[in-house]
Symmetry: C2
Subunit: 527 residues, 2 copies
């Protein structure tokens, strides 16, 4: 399959004339053909107009059509075959196995949302039947369903070229909710984006949907991304990236005539808490597992364990020793882009030179120009407290161990952390009582709390929360992974005394869609 | 019962020393004793510190305790007796019957949320059990529940001194979610606020809750309200008031180091659409009902019908005639405050003098200095389009009829309206086909669509949405009335591989709370 360098604007493939974006082989730094044309503001306008026109139509198509659309995208992505894998490996520098796995995850997500759409619980149907005889006033008939927000702008992520980009979790959940999507390709993987975009565009045609249901834009600067977020027809934003990028979009969205929700997944250092008994009994084993998690995918995960908190002493030393030994055996790995590699090297340098920080260990040495070498640092609790910059995320395989004088100090540090995607507790049964004490503080500032594991490896399921208070995300009331992600793109509407003939099928008295419903406040299953 | 002029800071009653706030008899303009002391920044700090300390404790008390707390507040409000009614009538200028009804609504809301808490569906429990045998990787055990956001700032509303103030819908839903509340009394009804605040403070003590679960502050300026929204320990804001006030709070909240959600219910003109057949067959009857809705409570409802759209012609004239006749018979009514009365009179004057607006009718003449006289205006579709100011809410019993040349123009006007709380369709069966065409546009910009009725009279139930896209509210994904309002103060947290001993009761395998749960994506009722 040839890779088209065109923008996808509805059913059209149009060359962008606003500058060019080239993919780069992450391992060699060599540019990859073709040159993708950046969208002009006029082309952005076309995409927004088409998305707006599609919105009312797409959202009221039968749920079965919407589900099949998601499944068709999944199949079309698989049908691209090896071209997609090879291009994605080249553009991301990630190993083939990882990219194949990520394709599986992407396809799995789309299919999961198809099942969610068919089941229909996301419609949140509530019916309070009329009570004409009620005193002193009759009660009206009220029915509620959730409707989609409208067209959604999705920004591709550098670190998940498939699972969180053009047809990734944001797009899948927005489509599932009934929203058209305009995707902005990440400049780190334009070829991957083009291939996946064509698969989505084809699915729109295969399923006979309005063409504006999907568009894909390349952006040679920032105008198109910013223009998207500011366009009056865009009603929500999905973004995975840096804190700077995410907060810039939050500000743009808040400054609109009609502010809109931004779901930006941004920055997290994912504290790992080593409790005394676990550390004593299993320190070396935990250290080995920690090193693997830290170095996985060159450390380029939002859930990378960037911070370890433990009570100082010989047990911690043993953990450090095991971690260091394991890290030394882990080869350096190609990072996603030369820019990300530069930022990583610079952040490592600053940390290593910090007067309060010791470098404990490094991973295998870099062999290519853009390879990232893992790094393990330590500091004291007092220094961690005194230096806010030590709380900043380093995007890559770096982690900071904070030596705490006692558990009480460790708990105090937790209270000073910003919002996080995850926190991991390593505990044995003898630690449970202490762990229980810190759980409330963790619940307040994280989206997921895990026991005897690490945050990398985000299961796509129904009970997953990949979210958390600011700055880990822009909106701590949401998750960007898992079936609950659909809720981000919905809002409730109530219908009062509306005749059945005018009600949407989801709310008709006879329940033609066979939905679970809340009647007079009580949940009733359809079967 | 004597009315204390003190701030309520946890279990303390403390006199505020930052200026004074006096209630005013709305009908006479005479000041009412006592003078309430405004909170200082130090007193605000005390309230925030107590709320923060209470938060972790309050949220993990048994649901039954939380439910009983809500019911105790309800009973304590009833126990105040006539003192509350009299004070509230004096401060608001609203008739006794309305205030008695509003007390019933307030008590009913608290009891409804007690039932919601006992039932527990708001916890949104999801469990994806582990699959240790799954290939290529075992699946972890994931469990999800919603947790409260933390302390909530509630701003009392001028127009609902009971149902949307100190112990109104925002407070009740925040308490139900598990959040402590710091209420800022509205300066229009400090005595009412003090009486209700004391009832809540007593309920905290009656139920043995941490004292910081509730505080009540008076604000002699804006520092306390702004300080509340900016305080790091406040995690969400509930507000009902003007567009200017609400957007100012939105800006403050967005500018925080950690931005927080603001649920501001602000401004809506609640379009009424008169369809041709209904207008022809029942125009006079609709006009009479419209006049009643328009003048209800001196028009001081968020859902007041401020805009009527209809096709011009003799049927519309008949509707106008009936409305005008009915309005003339409706006596002017005392408005909530002299300031609100002044703003109403000024807005009426501007509208009446507008070169594109005709005054069609007035209500009964004002007899007191602060009485508002209803007003009915008309304009053309072209003028409505050309003059954005005609879309602005006039807070009071004023409405603007837009004479449209045809239904297509009427539909075009809908697309130009800002977000609304409600839209009302007046239709006969012969209008259904036309009504169906405009429903999508109404769903996009309103929270509630009603048929053959008016938006005033907001049922407190499970299927109510009192919300809508900006500027009707700050966050169109929410409702401030009805049981769904609890969702505003919750966020999901996921627990991975956590032993039962550490899991909250809501997530334990044996389901000790008897909750409905979503297991592996499938909803299962507990009974």
């Amino acid at each position: 399959m040839e890779i088209s360098s065109d923008l996808l604007i509805g059913k059209q493939s149009v060359h962008g004339t606003n500058g060019a974006i080239k993919g780069v082989d992450a391992a060699t730094g060599e540019p990859l053909a073709p040159a993708f044309g950046g969208a002009t503001l006029a082309q952005l306008e076309d995409a927004c107009a088409l998305a707006w026109a599609a919105s009312d139509v797409y959202r009221e198509l039968p749920l079965e059509t919407r589900a099949r659309f998601l499944e068709t995208i999944a199949q079309n992505i698989l049908d691209i075959g090896d071209v997609l894998i090879e291009r994605c490996v080249a553009e991301s520098g990630l190993p083939r196995g990882r990219i194949e796995g990520e394709r599986g995850r992407t396809v799995g997500q789309l299919r999961m949302f198809a099942a969610v759409v068919r089941e229909g619980d996301f419609l949140g149907v509530r019916i309070d039947p009329a009570q004409p005889q009620r005193q002193p006033l009759p009660r009206v008939d009220l029915r509620l369903r959730y409707v989609p927000l409208g067209p959604v702008a999705v920004f591709g992520a550098s670190n998940f070229p498939l699972a969180f980009s053009v047809a990734g979790g944001d797009t899948a959940s927005a489509f599932a909710a009934g929203c058209p999507v305009i995707a902005k390709a990440h400049s780190a993987h334009p070829g991957t984006s083009a291939l996946v975009g064509a698969a989505v565009q084809k699915a729109v045609a295969d399923c006979g949907l309005p063409e504006g249901t999907f568009s894909l834009l390349f952006d040679s600067g920032r105008d198109i991304g910013q223009g998207l977020v500011s366009d009056r027809r865009i009603k929500a934003v999905g973004f995975t990236g840096s804190r700077g990028g995410g907060t810039a979009l939050m500000k743009l969205a808040a400054a609109r005539r009609e502010p809109i929700p931004v779901y930006a997944e941004m920055s997290s250092i994912n504290p790992v808490l080593l409790f005394p008994n676990a550390l004593k009994n299993r320190g070396a084993a935990i250290g080995k597992a920690f090193a693997s998690s830290l170095a996985l995918g060159a450390g380029q995960f939002c859930t990378n364990p960037g911070l370890v908190l433990a009570v100082d002493g010989p047990d911690l030393d043993a953990f450090i020793q095991a971690t260091s030994a394991a890290l030394a055996d882990i080869p350096a790995a190609t990072m996603l882009t030369p820019g990300i590699h530069r930022a990583y090297v610079s952040a490592l340098g600053k940390t290593a030179e910090h007067s309060d920080v010791k470098t404990l260990a490094r991973g295998g040495e870099a062999k290519g120009a853009t390879q990232g070498q893992a790094a393990l640092f330590s500091t004291t609790a007092a220094a961690f407290r005194a230096n806010a910059e030590l709380q900043e995320e380093i995007f890559g395989a770096a982690s900071l161990i904070v030596r705490c004088p006692d558990l009480a100090t460790l708990f105090d540090l937790i209270e000073e952390l910003e919002g996080q995607l995850t926190a991991a507790l390593h505990i044995d049964e003898a630690d449970y009582a202490d762990a229980a004490k810190i759980l409330p503080a963790l619940e307040r500032r994280t989206g997921r709390i895990l026991v005897n594991g690490f945050g990398t490896g985000v299961e796509v399921g129904h009970a997953m929360v990949h979210g958390g208070p600011f700055p880990s995300t822009a909106d701590g009331r949401s998750t960007s992974v898992g079936s609950l992600a659909i809720d981000r793109f919905l809002r409730p509407v109530s219908y009062q005394d509306m005749p059945d003939a005018l009600l949407p099928d989801a709310l008709k008295t006879e329940n033609p869609l066979g939905l679970n419903r809340r009647i007079d406040g009580k949940l009733q299953l359809s079967k």
